[in-house]
């Protein structure tokens, strides 16, 4: 379970997240929506242990989000993924295999094949959507219990989006993967997310509050 208790994050004088609280139970696919600059990506980075909260606490399975034991169970897929200039899908897999005990190279190769991605081609030669597919494949094959996805559908064509939806839902149902997705694609989120939250001016609104605001 991911527990976010009264988390506040400031950038200088700007309050990005203001005492945000949220609980995401195991196996849930949770979608987070919000306008630009609402703090969606910041919240993901806080959960992933990249940023530190100015106040409040984030716990994953009862452990602090920055603890190694918690981080081992979380895979964070940012909006823009970093990869080495000479990276190929295969080296990306090898990279994550170093750090995640559950990473399955066999499954990873299978997914690459399913996405029809050449495993020895340079990532730089791939389109934006193809690169995304590589990292989605890696994220699913690390076999962590939590998956944090920032704009996971960005750059994917409708057909691949459907495949990705199926894969994510399958993982959530099959191995109780808890997924937190941040996206602007409301329709996609409606398709796969059991619950949704709306970030507005640093706070999470309920659906009626959100509808009222709209």
């Amino acid at each position: 379970m991911i527990e976010i208790c009264n988390v506040t994050k400031r950038f200088g004088k700007f309050v990005c997240l203001d005492q945000v609280s949220l609980e995401i139970p195991d196996g849930m696919v949770y979608g987070l929506v919000g306008e630009n600059g609402a703090g969606k990506s910041t919240l993901l980075r806080l959960i992933a242990g990249v940023y530190r909260a100015d106040a409040g606490e984030i716990r994953i399975d009862g452990r602090r989000a920055s603890a190694v034991a918690a981080k081992q169970e979380v895979f964070y897929m940012p909006d823009r993924q970093y990869y080495d200039r000479n990276a190929t899908p295969l080296t990306v897999g090898s990279f994550y295999r170093n750090f995640y005990a559950g990473f399955s190279m066999e499954d990873y190769r299978g997914l690459l094949e399913m996405f029809e991605l050449e495993e020895n081609a340079l990532l730089d030669s791939f389109s934006k959507g193809m690169k995304k597919q590589v990292f989605i494949a890696a994220a699913l094959c690390t076999n962590t219990r939590y998956l944090l996805c920032d704009e996971v559908f960005d750059g994917l064509d409708p057909q691949i989006r459907r495949v990705v939806n199926d894969l994510l839902l399958g993982a959530a149902e099959g191995r109780k993967l808890t997924i937190l997705i941040v996206s602007h694609y409301l329709e996609e989120l409606n398709k796969i997310c059991g619950h949704k939250g709306y970030l507005h001016r640093g706070r999470i609104l309920t659906e009626p509050e959100w509808q009222e605001l709209l």
Partner: protein, 648 residues
């Protein structure tokens, strides 16, 4: 997954990212190893083993360069948001991420460095350039000390990288770390000199200059400076510096780790990661620049210290520097007039500093009572024939009755009001009974200079002043003589050399200060070491009868004067001085050539070889006329020229 396995994976991935640096390290160190293994680059003599020691300049330069580059490159993933997301999102704590970058950098430098140095040592052993027993310590220290130096430099570069947010700022911060302490202490020294006329040097400041300035500490720990001089590398002379360097390297590494852990991952639009770092840089830069301005403006005080000029420097300098710093720190010209509270604080800090300097200056002017003094050393810098003043101060020990006389004389003449135009500096060092040392600088009026004879005649003074009196043995020396017009190397055995040296010492011991001022040297004896231990020389004066007699016995007419040579012509160049506001300009006003034998004879009797007139400040001479004497050498075949001065 096992934590160690994951950490090994992290090390491996980090090493992959640093392949370029690995290649550069192996290439540069391999090339240095090859270059120094070639015979042409290794000179002959007893110091060849030093090339494998820590004092090797090329390896020192490599250490500094790699320290800076690898420190700046250690956490490359902090440069972009996507890289930061990737690395900080991995299942590692920040200390683990730091440890991986730090350890890899150490490996990348230390492994090729050690391997190449040991390989070079093996080659130099095989080729007979070094001897194993006398070089092995140097070799191991040559590996250890540069590795410590590398960690120290890497720590500084890392600190600058972690504290600043952009490349320009990082370079500036590193420059501040490297040069700031030395510049600051130099400024402090200069200001104390200005504010307290009696200030000469402070032991505390000297120690701080050696240990707190990063470059000075590195130079002294490795011994690069001494290596350049060709002396042997001795561990005990460098041990304290090495220990401080080790401590500093550990401290910097721990500090970098702490900052890496608390440093926010997100980038800000400020120049520095932390406000405190920004304040520190602001005040350090302002204080250094303002003190420099205070010191710089004193040039208009013509040698003294003007409180008004210091006030002007603070009053006008601080607001301008404040504005400039605002612009630099915010990278915005519109910020020139902002941060007004800081301006107020900066004024306060500067005024406080000037008050502290003034207090230190007045405290530094207090002389200890004679009962507190164990021994004294006195140096008259105008007596340039006495050699290095620092060496003389450390070597001389005037004690007993001589100490009391010296103390009384210094108390009498220092600061004495006089109508004299010229003043001479006198440097005094008192070794106190409580183990401390006090240094003073006094102004001696020219009309009181004769009184220096009482000090000059003391054995302790001469032993401290003249290097030649301190020779233990002349076994490994050869003796050269010159009178500026001709020169010989004396072919003498050890007993003969000893006899000549003893005669010279007796002559020098008998000489009075009045004689030194009355007569210019007529020659020079040089004891040149055949074991690279440095040459020692001393001037021969007309009254050195014993020395002249021995030299005459060996066929050298050392008493021969300029007028005794066959002079063909003397070119007389007259210069004029034009007074400027800050500097005086000297220009050639007229030039004559004297060829008449009578005039040549008359003039040549008054001339002295310029090369020997090192004590020129102590006697009267015509400073605005130069004489170029053309003469035939002893063979009569060659016409040579020598520059001379005329004594009045």
């Amino acid at each position: 997954m096992d934590g160690m396995k994951r950490f090994t994976g992290l090390l491996r991935e980090d090493l992959k990212r640093k392949l370029g640096m690995i290649a550069a390290a192996w290439y540069s160190m391999g090339m240095l190893c090859l270059v120094f293994s070639m015979k042409a680059t290794v000179p002959t003599g007893e110091v060849r083993s030093l090339y494998v020691g820590p004092g090797n300049t090329s390896f020192f330069a490599v250490m500094v360069l790699f320290g800076i580059l690898m420190g700046a490159d250690a956490f490359r993933f902090l440069r972009s948001e996507s890289e930061t997301d990737l690395y900080f999102g991995l299942p590692f704590t920040r200390p683990q991420l730091f440890a991986a970058g730090w350890a890899n950098n150490l490996l990348i430098f230390a492994v090729p460095f050690t391997v190449c140095r040991l390989l070079f040592f093996q080659i130099s052993l095989a080729m007979g350039y070094s001897r194993y027993e006398e070089s092995i310590l140097s070799v191991w220290m040559g590996c250890l000390v540069p590795i410590l130096g590398f960690l120290f430099m890497m720590g500084l570069a890392m600190l600058a990288y972690l504290l600043a947010q952009n490349t320009g700022c990082r370079i500036g911060l590193l420059a501040l770390f490297l040069l700031g302490p030395a510049v600051g202490m130099r400024l402090v020294e200069r200001l104390l000199e200005m504010m307290a006329p009696s200030f000469y040097r402070s032991e505390v400041l000297e120690i701080m200059k050696e240990y707190l300035s990063p470059l000075s500490l590195l130079l002294r720990a490795t011994g690069v400076q001494e290596y350049a001089d060709g002396s042997c590398w001795l561990l005990q002379e460098h041990l304290s510096y090495i220990l401080v360097l080790e401590g500093a390297a550990v401290f910097l590494s721990v500090m970098c780790l702490v900052i890496f852990c608390i440093r926010p991952a997100e980038r800000t639009n400020r120049m520095f990661t932390f406000r405190s770092a920004e304040y520190l840089v602001r005040y350090v830069c302002l204080v250094l620049a303002a003190l420099w301005l205070v010191k710089g403006l004193q040039v208009f005080a013509l040698g003294g210290f003007s409180t008004a000029l210091a006030g002007i420097a603070v009053l006008f300098g601080v607001p301008v520097l404040h504005g400039l710093l605002n612009m630099v720190l915010a990278f915005d010209a519109r910020k020139f007039v902002s941060a007004k509270w800081h301006l107020l604080m900066e004024f306060c800090v500067m005024l406080l500093l000037l008050v502290v300097f003034s207090a230190l200056g007045s405290r530094g002017g207090r002389m200890p009572a004679v009962e507190e003094i164990e021994s004294a050393a006195v140096v008259l810098p105008a007596l340039a024939s006495g050699g290095d003043r620092e060496q003389a101060l450390s070597r001389m020990k005037i004690e007993g009755d001589g100490l009391a006389d010296t103390y009384v004389w210094i108390q009498e003449v220092c600061g004495k009001k006089s109508d004299a135009d010229d003043f001479y500096d006198i440097l005094v060092k008192y070794n106190l009974k409580n183990g401390r040392t006090a240094y003073y600088k006094c102004q001696l009026p020219a009309d009181a200079l004769d009184g220096f004879d009482d000090i000059y005649r003391q054995e302790a003074y001469k032993k401290g002043t003249y290097d030649i009196l301190c020779l233990d043995s002349v076994k490994y020396y050869e003796i050269h003589w010159t009178n500026g017009m001709e020169q010989y190397t004396l072919d003498l055995n050890e007993q003969e050399r000893q006899a000549l040296w003893e005669a010279y010492c007796k002559d020098l011991d008998r000489m009075t200060f009045a004689e030194l001022r009355a007569e210019a040297p007529i020659g020079q004896l040089t004891f040149a070491s055949t074991k690279n231990q440095g040459d020692v020389s001393g001037y021969i004066y007309p009254g050195f009868s014993k020395t002249l007699a021995i030299l005459s016995h060996y066929g050298i007419h050392a008493g021969k004067k300029i007028s005794d040579y066959e002079i063909t012509e003397i070119v007389v160049a007259r210069y004029m001085m034009q007074d400027g506001l800050l500097y005086n300009v000297r220009y050639l006003a007229a030039q004559d050539t004297v060829r008449e034998p009578e005039k040549i004879m008359e003039l040549s009797k008054t001339l002295a070889i310029e090369e020997f007139c090192v004590d020129e400040q102590l006697y009267l001479k015509d400073r605005n006329t130069e004489y170029m004497v053309s003469y035939r050498d002893s063979t009569g075949q060659t016409v040579r020229r020598v520059k001379c001065w005329k004594r009045i």
